[in-house]
Symmetry: C2
Subunit: 148 residues, 2 copies
Amino acid sequence: MNTTKKIIDNLRKKGYRITSQREKILEIFLHLPDEYHLSAEDLQIILLQNNVKISLATLYRTLKFLASNGLLRELDFGEDHKHYEYNSANKPHHHLICLSCGLTTEFNDEKLLNCAKDAALNLSNFQVLDYQFKIFGLCANCQGKIKA
Amino acid sequence: MNTTKKIIDNLRKKGYRITSQREKILEIFLHLPDEYHLSAEDLQIILLQNNVKISLATLYRTLKFLASNGLLRELDFGEDHKHYEYNSANKPHHHLICLSCGLTTEFNDEKLLNCAKDAALNLSNFQVLDYQFKIFGLCANCQGKIKA
DNA sequence: TTTCGTGCAAACCATTTGCAGCAGC
DNA sequence: GCTGCTGCAAATGGTTTGCACGAAA
């Protein structure tokens, strides 16, 4: 059984209905390269490119639905809209955010993640479910621009 | 010369005008306990409690102004509004966010910060200006509620 | 006196919501 | 057939903006 099927089966077991809209949106996230984090608008564009018409209301509702079921991770890059990425356990989900052009790239650092896990263990009275690390600065391109 | 005076002097040197509104808002952040991160609404309430009337427009403009001059740090806790805290170099600025009640508390972990610094150093082609670590989960109170 | 900053009200824009109809099961 | 999900359009709410006036330097 492939990933999509497994996920859908799981949602059905929880009592949710599987509509074509939910399936299409899920598929898009599953087939997205690791480094992508879509905004609602990005997602709408991709859907249109695939000739899929889903209302904005449903799109937002589905994003919230998938996120609340742990399938998507909600991200905030300091912009006025949210981004979403597929929430796989082994996917890196730490980000470099360029304060000049807004470019957001992923990074992963074994040591840092281990430190984070240790730190999380030491938190008393707090049950850790997820963590995110954000580094703000200037990307290679923008460093050049500002120097010039 | 105290901190406020120093900061104001610095802003004036940059060519900005020092208005009573900017001074009042800056003072509030300087006198805030470390663990506070105000939303625009919080700030408005504090201003009113101090009998200071500042329009919402100016309030937002001043927050942006102070943040763009490195005096405030802009924070995102996954809510629909931003939070701000005074941007002191030695202030911890990493957060535990309760996914159930939204309670946000600060934490600091020497080891984790050192790891973060190391990780930042290893980033090629990226000039690090700031970083934030967020841990999502359930606070002591909400763990109880959910178990019950 | 010259700008810059402020207040007001209207505009913006991402996201949410009420409701009627349709689709999953 | 029951009920949850969708689409539409209107509402919401935090934040931004145009403009005329007031204040900093």
